[in-house]
Symmetry: D2
Subunit: 405 residues, 4 copies
């Protein structure tokens, strides 16, 4: 068995230093989904005010990812731009302030990163302002505001993530790039490309030209689909003779039935996705395939719990030469089951068993796939406009009528 590397004793090297040396960098998992299930995040707005309200819960989740093998701790600043914090009746900006949410996120991530071999990445994501057709200056100002906190708190590098439109992603990269810190950029798109029809290859080219050193995708699709999208990005970069590191942070949900907009459109989003949750073995397969494609920044997004990150670290342990701390509590391909009381469970303590298992849903009255909602609206549509006030009863009624169950 490979040695377990304790989290506490590494000298820190920068993200590009690692990637340039050919190392595998393991990302973390999705905070909004994990903390929603733990009771600290509200599905709907999905904003990260828990950094101020319940820092112990955010800290604990960071720590679990660190133990599971994460080399990057992203600040919990998803959707923490000022305009998003005051959208549709979510009064976080007013009650707490954008500044405080972002600062607290940096402090917590740094505290835990110091417990092990992990870097802190400050992150920005898409804004309501862009969807509401605000101009470039205004959108950039939102990113600038978050960046100021990241610089003050001296994060190790920056990530622009979860962009549906490459135009906005490029704006974000441009802002972040001015800091002088390395910039990674991931879009939440599938093989069909961004919401304006720009292909993954073209998106990658534009992001690298804007200054990103690392490009890829995150969220919205399952591992298989995300890998295909990153593969297309790689092809696009090669065709354009551009170089960049590749990154992948997919959902831990199976989404073979998604349309262009990804899992948001699935009828099960966000409160009925349980049967789609990936097993640890699904994630081991993902990690191997990501590695084979040439991706070296391998992490996860919504649905990824600490044990999914550990699965990446365990699958790639032979390449890395060590196991993460949380593997003290997990055997390779189930081999700790040899300690189970029941003999037929001990008989499952082997790779070929778990590798070939086709797990049953236990739901014989449910289908295997769903037809995604597809309203075909994007940037500029009236219903996508930022709106500080809560959605009114009348607005809801109109939406219900538009969508028959």
């Amino acid at each position: 068995m490979l040695p377990i590397r304790k989290t506490a004793k590494q000298s820190k090297r920068g993200i590009l230093e690692r990637l340039d040396a050919g190392e595998i960098v393991i990302g973390d998992g999705g905070f909004v989904f994990a903390l929603e299930k733990r009771g600290y995040v509200k599905a709907g707005p999905w904003t990260p005010e828990a950094t101020v309200e319940h820092p112990e819960a955010v800290r604990q989740l960071h720590r679990e990812f660190l133990r599971a093998g994460s080399n990057v701790l992203q600040t919990f600043t998803f959707y923490a731009s000022e305009d998003k914090l005051e959208n549709r009746g979510n009064y976080v900006a007013e009650k707490i302030s954008c500044h405080k949410v972002n600062e607290a996120a940096c402090d917590i991530a740094r505290e835990v990163a110091n417990e092990g071999d992990a870097l802190v990445a400050g992150g920005v994501s898409q804004t309501p302002s862009y969807l509401s057709c605000k101009d470039k200056t205004e959108v950039k100002a939102a990113f600038q505001k978050q960046l100021e906190v990241f610089m003050k708190k001296n994060v190790d590098f920056l990530i622009a993530e979860y962009f549906e439109h490459v135009e906005e992603a490029v704006w974000a990269v441009e802002v972040l790039k001015e800091s002088g810190k390395p910039v990674a950029a991931t879009m939440c798109i599938g093989p069909e490309g961004d919401m304006h029809g720009v292909s993954p290859g073209q998106c990658a080219v534009q992001l690298v030209k804007a200054g990103a050193s690392i490009v890829g995708v995150n969220c919205h699709f399952d591992p298989e689909t995300c890998l295909e999208t990153v593969r297309l990005m790689k092809e696009g970069l090669q065709a354009a003779k551009l170089k960049a590191h590749l990154m992948c942070q997919p959902l831990a949900f199976h989404t073979p039935d998604c349309g262009k907009q990804g899992f948001i459109d699935l009828p099960e989003f966000p409160f009925g996705l349980e049967p789609r949750i990936a097993t640890r073995w699904d994630i081991q397969k993902y990690a191997r395939k990501a590695y084979d494609i040439g991706i070296r920044f391998i992490g996860g997004c919504c649905g990824f719990e600490p044990y999914h990150i550990r699965a990446i670290a365990e699958e790639l342990a032979p390449e890395r030469g060590f196991l993460p701390e949380a593997s003290e509590k997990h055997g390779n391909w189930g081999d700790n089951l040899s300690m189970h009381t029941k003999p037929w469970v001990r008989a499952r303590a082997r790779k070929e068993y778990w590798e070939n298992l086709k797990p049953a849903s236990g739901r014989p009255y449910c289908p295997c796939m769903s037809k995604p909602d597809g309203w075909g609206v994007t940037k500029g549509a009236k219903e996508l406009m930022q709106q500080k006030e809560a959605t009114t009863e009348q607005q809801l009624k109109e939406l219900f009528q538009k969508k028959k169950f």
Copy 2:
């Protein structure tokens, strides 16, 4: 909307005081599964040494359940009997000691319980000694050893849970009863009864006669099956003219295909159960049905995450008159989705949508049900004997041959 009751300000009344008054008491969820996914528990032995090794992780999970609405925090002492702590190569007893694991569990539970309106319940569970045919005295001594800690730490009441054989459960109740504290007893059986063929009704009768004030089931089966089992217990008690409070703590996994031994036999146990995980809506239906059957101690077991416990608290909020603290981050039947950016997701902000959803698995190559393993071995079978040493290669090889994949 009903008021949210903050966790911190209640005067504590005892478990029987509450149940006798007709109140609903909400239990907590399963620790071993939740903490396995967080990286602190080893699947296979499933022992709770995390209480000593990583108290912050155990504390955080207790706190999440408290916020979600739990009125009972069970000490994380599952499988913490001395004989289990030194079974099949798991050297916890030797490295840490049974005493310390149990003490730390009590301390952590009490610390969090003091943050809100929750009682601490000390828990014992079935022992390898019983399966290995040790005599009554020896089995009772194992429970006695744990009880000593519970008394020293002055827990509020006691639970004997997860028993497959009513004979052993009765022994446990007898030991616990001597303490003078209220005793609850739950078995991990289904409608077919215990492993020796004793019916649920008969089990309930024997447990009450032994001194349990609260009886029911926990673990091994999905909510629907567990409710049916408790209903049969209720019938058995009525027929015997005995009175007791009823309790139910099922899995948060769908298990319509289980045999007599429950989810342990399913090929997906324990690392492929994801597609079976219950949604919050499944749990709301469970809570309502449990209430209608007359069960007043309503909680969960393996698979129950904090948001599942919150679902119980939200479903029964009209009866209780308040919502739990974690409902600050959750709308009734999805109504926070009215704050979502995408209009078609806002259109899902209503009960009829979620109530009727048949969630797809996203796994078209997988079936809906599995054939459980059924080796038909129980107490006394050679392969069930306690064995201090790790399972040998030769033993594993024999098991693999016995079970073709």
Copy 3:
């Protein structure tokens, strides 16, 4: 390979002569479903006027079953009682006459039976009169009328089949028994028993006491469920120290989700049952299991096509010593696939392949099970009354309202 026995050259021995000698007797398949798909029977009334309107189609189906191995050709007289032929706007009695339909059925069956080693069985089935609470005399008169034709045409033996109430089945047996010919009786019930709650064992006892030499079940449930029901009948007879031959003629549809009333209640009945159709391999397993239970009259009902009957004959060929004529066109467990052009299909020419195949539905948006309708009405309910006139628009409207889709 076992020899193929040509259909044309056997000396005929009676049904009891065969069964008493321990021979396997193979029944035929369901006519109403097969001929509905061929365009000769109307789903809804399900009456057999095709015997007069299109004798060539009925003859051809008989011939196919004969070639497939059937030793019994049932006259196509299902639902050919006078009262059923004039129910709810189906004017067969008026246009053709009950007498002619039954006579033609006997003539066609006899003609084909003479082409091989098969007996002709005259059949009666449950009546609207019984459901409409007509008295015993009136119900018996309906059977008597059909029996007169059977006697005139000198069928080889008689079958009372498809009864939901044992009371009516007993009346039918009593009528048929007076003819002096051997009588078989099958009910369309499952393990829960008849619509009045009489258990399968009790039903069997009553039927044998009334004069049936052969008892069992037909229709309404899949092979597995029907076998379980016959097994319960066997137990009932043994307990009562009665002797009778056992018979089973199940659906060729998978119905694990049926309630007490069987496949009629499934939402897919009768025009969406395709995904439930049994493969030939399902039927081979059924035939083997039926044999092992001790059933010697083994046939099928709705959904059974000629190739399903051939599957029975092929599975039991070792016991019988020969194959049916149609096996000239079919290899044992797929071995004719060795003649296929594509090599990967030739690789499927073996038992272990087909025996273990879990056939996919090709329908990822559909579930595996349905909730059956359960209106809980039976004999005597207003809506079950015989009604000579067509269902009115108003009546339909009331039904639609009663049943939301």
Copy 4:
């Protein structure tokens, strides 16, 4: 209700006369699958010697299709080329002769066509010679030999169908075209094109240039996939400014999981396809969609039973002005169910019920999709060579090893 047009009284107009006038022409269904289930065709070789051995069975199936609404009766000459009749141990050419099989097929089709408003189409299909790399002259000679019979028997038009390679299809059209009779040509390809990578659009162009007046696809894929392929053909023809009538004869099996080679590759082929069988409502949707795409020759292939053809005729009855004879036994969208005894079945007598039904498989242990075999071999591969002798044990053994179950 539209009038039923009796089959017996039409004046015959030619295929092009009808199509040029904008009429809908309904094809028939697949003979090899239907007659295999009836016991007259051997799966594996799939050859049509039943025309000589059991003409009554072939005649009856033709008649059923005629009654169901078919305007074209295809001679049952599928795979009736000399080389196919003596492939891999199938000695039809030797025992019966290619000539006699084709002659009998023409006679039977003509006899039934004369009973109604149907044309006789002589059909040829792909040859083992082509796969074995025989030269153009030799392959054409095989078609020529069948054509001689068709001319002698004076069929109404000709169909070259079931070609995987457009090169061979073009050769077939060239041969048939010399007869002076109208020629239709269909390939068994999907949207990915022929086995050599020629796109559907290019295939259509080549076929029309070779002389086909009608082009399209048959077999190998489900209705939806076939319609998409014909749509691509239409686009190809439009781009090339060519005119031709369009034709579609898909499987009546759901095959969303097929690869390029179609249903042959599915693990369920050919003996486990039951759960994939289309309902009549699936076919009504297909007929409507085909019509909307502009296809006017609409029929079926393997899996299509008479009731599926009737579904086409019923769906398009408003456009055609009449119903087929078999609709005497079938109500529009289930309305004959108003005559059913059980009230909850009468409540299903309406379009919205059947249109929205998602039929359950009744197979909870089976998946919804399969991974197709994909050996990637085609024309010229050793294992595809014609071989007069039966596959040897040694050859089979090699295949079994190549394919693990």
